[in-house]
């Protein structure tokens, strides 16, 4: 495979790496807020993969310009999915943070191991 061929897969490799970095944060970090940050990184990696799939060689964004004829457009469908997913992601993140605040107030700590001991 020549280099240019390999570069075509670079986006997917970055997706795999950022996904795993997010997963690592969720698994190995005890602090609940760090877990939520890891979760949002995990989510952004998934968004990146969807949007990488929609790019068409030489295509522009799927907004039809009046004058231009037979334009190649990138695929609009993944963009619609991700557009709503970002806003939903933020509101669920806010829900998670609200729970973390309540855990801090009742347990006095947000380190996972200390919470388990307190139970």
């Amino acid at each position: 495979m020549k280099l240019l061929e390999l570069l075509g897969y670079f986006n997917y490799w970055v997706f795999a790496i950022v996904l795993m970095v997010g997963l690592y944060a969720v698994i190995s970090k005890a602090n609940l807020i760090k877990k939520l940050i890891g979760l949002s990184i995990f989510q952004s990696a998934v968004f990146l993969m969807y949007i990488t799939m929609d790019k068409v060689e030489g295509g522009t964004a799927p907004i039809i310009q009046k004058g231009v004829e037979n334009q190649i457009f990138s695929n609009p469908l993944p963009q619609v999915l991700i557009l709503t997913a970002i806003v939903v992601g933020v509101s669920t993140l806010a829900l998670g943070l609200a729970m973390v605040v309540r855990i801090k107030e009742s347990y006095g700590t947000i380190e996972e191991n200390e919470i388990l001991d307190a139970d």
Partner: protein, 328 residues
């Protein structure tokens, strides 16, 4: 040529994500998360996703950072490093990463026109948008009319999350945490006169730009979700500069809840009205004699509903967190 940009920005993305996970100071992690969202928006734009980049910009820069910081103010800022369990987690993650990278080799190359993704339904959408709706932005057409039912579900998810946060943070904190002295007026950035003056100058433009994005959704990148986030960011800026109480006077809590409920209700009622007029649920072409104008009218009203719901939800979430800080 876009490969140069894409590779450059994506490698920055990887570096930032690794740096986020490694720092122990949570505040630094939040700052790096805002840089992470800047990079995501730039990547989305380079990969031809203008609407998504605008959403990531409107939501990532303003609302996410503010919500994280409000939560950090209520919980500790320092993270205690964990000693055991690091080795196994790293090995497991490394194996998974190599498996996934191995799996990516039979994916279509970036930008490959005859990839299966592009054959199935996308060309149909692009043709039908000019035929049914006759406006340029295909993404808004799919979002609000072809896939209107899913967007309705999304608005209800945002609504549920907002109600969830209000329930969770509605309970007053346990008594001993409450500061006995009278809560001095939250003056926002007190002695920063210049940001207040410039903020007072910029906030109307932010809200105006939010409304522009709301109604410009058909012709360029924009729509309800982005507009709601931008307007919420403008009012959050007002709350930061003038103090949270004055922001509550400007947009009281009842109005916020009314916006959240009203937006979701507006969306659903447009669907029901379509059924009354003979079409099926969320089929806007029956709304008026000329089907194309019916579609455009329906989409306009729905985007307004989505914008109201998202703006109300994000703002009431912010006020729920900010009110908590005064008390505890």
């Amino acid at each position: 040529m876009i490969f140069v940009f894409a590779i450059f920005l994506l490698s920055l993305l990887v570096i930032t994500s690794i740096a986020i996970v490694r720092t122990t100071n949570l505040f630094v992690a939040v700052m790096l998360t805002s840089i992470f969202s800047f990079l995501m928006a730039a990547n989305f734009f380079i990969l031809d996703a203008a609407d998504v980049a605008l959403t990531e910009a409107a939501v990532g820069a303003g609302v996410t950072t503010v919500i994280f910081l409000c939560a950090l103010a209520l919980t500790g800022e320092r993270e205690k490093p964990r000693i055991n369990g690091r080795k196994t987690a790293r090995v497991a993650v490394a194996i998974l990463a190599s498996l996934m990278i191995y799996a990516t080799f039979d994916k279509p190359r970036l930008g490959d026109p005859d990839a299966p993704v592009h054959q199935h339904i996308a060309p149909w959408y692009i043709e039908k948008t000019t035929e049914h709706m006759d406006f340029p932005n295909v993404v808004t057409a799919i979002l609000s009319s072809f896939r209107g039912y899913d967007t309705l579900g999304e608005v209800f998810v945002v609504f549920a999350a907002c109600i969830g946060v209000l329930f969770i943070l509605g309970v007053p904190p346990p008594a001993q945490k409450r500061l006995n002295k009278v809560v001095e007026q939250n003056k926002g950035l007190r002695h920063h006169l210049i940001p207040q003056v410039v903020g007072r100058l910029v906030i109307p433009f932010i809200v105006l730009f939010g409304l522009y994005t709301q109604f410009h959704g058909e012709y360029g990148p924009g729509g309800g979700f982005q507009a709601g986030a931008i307007i919420a960011t403008g009012i959050i800026l007002y709350a930061l500069l003038e103090g949270e109480n004055k922001a509550l006077q400007a947009v009281p809590r009842s109005v916020l809840l009314g916006m959240v409920i009203g937006g979701a209700l507006l969306f659903g009622s447009v669907g029901v009205i379509c059924m009354f007029m003979g079409g099926n649920f969320l089929e806007y072409s029956v709304l008026s004699a000329d089907p194309i104008w019916g579609q455009q009218l329906g989409i306009l009203v729905i985007e307004a509903g989505v914008g109201m719901a998202v703006c109300g939800a994000l703002l009431s979430i912010f006020h729920a967190f900010a009110a908590r800080e005064n008390v505890s």
